[in-house]
Assembly symmetry: C2
Homo-oligomer: 252 residues x 2
Amino acid sequence: MEGMPLSMGSLRTLPWYVAGSQVLGVACVVITGVWMGHYRGGYAWDGSAQFNNHPLCMVLGLVFLYGDAVLVYRVFRNETKRSVKILHALLHMMALVISIVGLVAVFDFHSSAKISHMYSLHSWCGMLTFVLFVLQWLLGLGFFLFPWASAQLRSWYLPLHVFFGLLLLAMSVGSCLLGITEKLLFSIMESYIMFTGEGVLANTLGLLLVCFGVVVGYVVTREDFRRPPNPEEEALSVHFKTLSEGEIPSSP
Amino acid sequence: MEGMPLSMGSLRTLPWYVAGSQVLGVACVVITGVWMGHYRGGYAWDGSAQFNNHPLCMVLGLVFLYGDAVLVYRVFRNETKRSVKILHALLHMMALVISIVGLVAVFDFHSSAKISHMYSLHSWCGMLTFVLFVLQWLLGLGFFLFPWASAQLRSWYLPLHVFFGLLLLAMSVGSCLLGITEKLLFSIMESYIMFTGEGVLANTLGLLLVCFGVVVGYVVTREDFRRPPNPEEEALSVHFKTLSEGEIPSSP
């Protein structure tokens, strides 16, 4: 590496990427809200409108809040690692609670309408994503937030936690896109082909979800956006040079 | 890092991951072939069977061959970088040609059947993936295979090439899953909900495609699976520590 001047220069672009991710994330939540609210009959906790809570909760929880939980290690560069870890866990907890509400909404709706559960590729991928997310969250708590795991175990698990973290973001976005396609074909199969407003809006939502995932993934994996080394992390020997929650090792 | 003993030990697992990826990749191609061949009326270059070439070509080209092109840097660890680059470019060229056949098949089928082009989220995501793939392939040729680009330009572009390479694998898999969902809802919407053989087979194909992408992504991003440094690369100053085509820098 040519060293600090390049890193310092490129760090100036970080806020722009973060701001871009937030604009994209908010746009996704708003468009989902408008789609379900304006085109699909609004929100309720019974009848066919109960379903409409599902897309909104999943986009808000498992995409937007999940993505922001991943970003905190790049945004709060100079806070203590412990504070950032707690924020990371809290945002993931909010994502978990909101996505549980979203899942209850769709299972309740299916039961009331006598529709089978879990028959579609969207449901298989979405449920796999949710189960892995819960597992990842519990393992993250156990390994990194509470003092149960040894430093060696932590350093073994960290690259896996980071890999699965980004994988789950991709799977969340992918599951949303499958859900969008399903919903459009169930609701407007005849008019979808004619580039109607609802179809174009939902397709645009799909592309914006991909863009959100791409920007978050880019910020998290870009080498010169990493957090500077800190003594707490050094002491824990949680060193790795690959896709990383945090630090560049100060020594090999 | 604790150093060589750990790396040497973990390298023994690399062939298992690579073998696993090949089993998954072949299974995806075979299941797609069986789905279209057995359940959807087989293959032809006219009539409704012309469509059936599309899924087979896209899974074979933009997923299986694309994934294998990404893997060559881990599989051929001790060949010269130049040979591996040529193999990487050739596999991508095969992926490109086969995916063009797949695209011609679906556009031709749509034209014959008087169906609009490019109205669905699957088509938007799939076309975006294909266009970015062509761009990435051309830039890869220009920057890395021919001697036009300076070492500085190459080292600037390499992390982007690697990031977009993995992103495109994820987008290819995601586009296939959207296509599976579309095809099932167009063909068997009534019976899909009853867990019929075709629906379960196609859902299983979707999960296997995700697994293929995950294993390839894991092998390529795992730190101790990287290629050992080599003098050609050193001379080009193509050094980087992030998600990487190749080397760990021998000096910071």
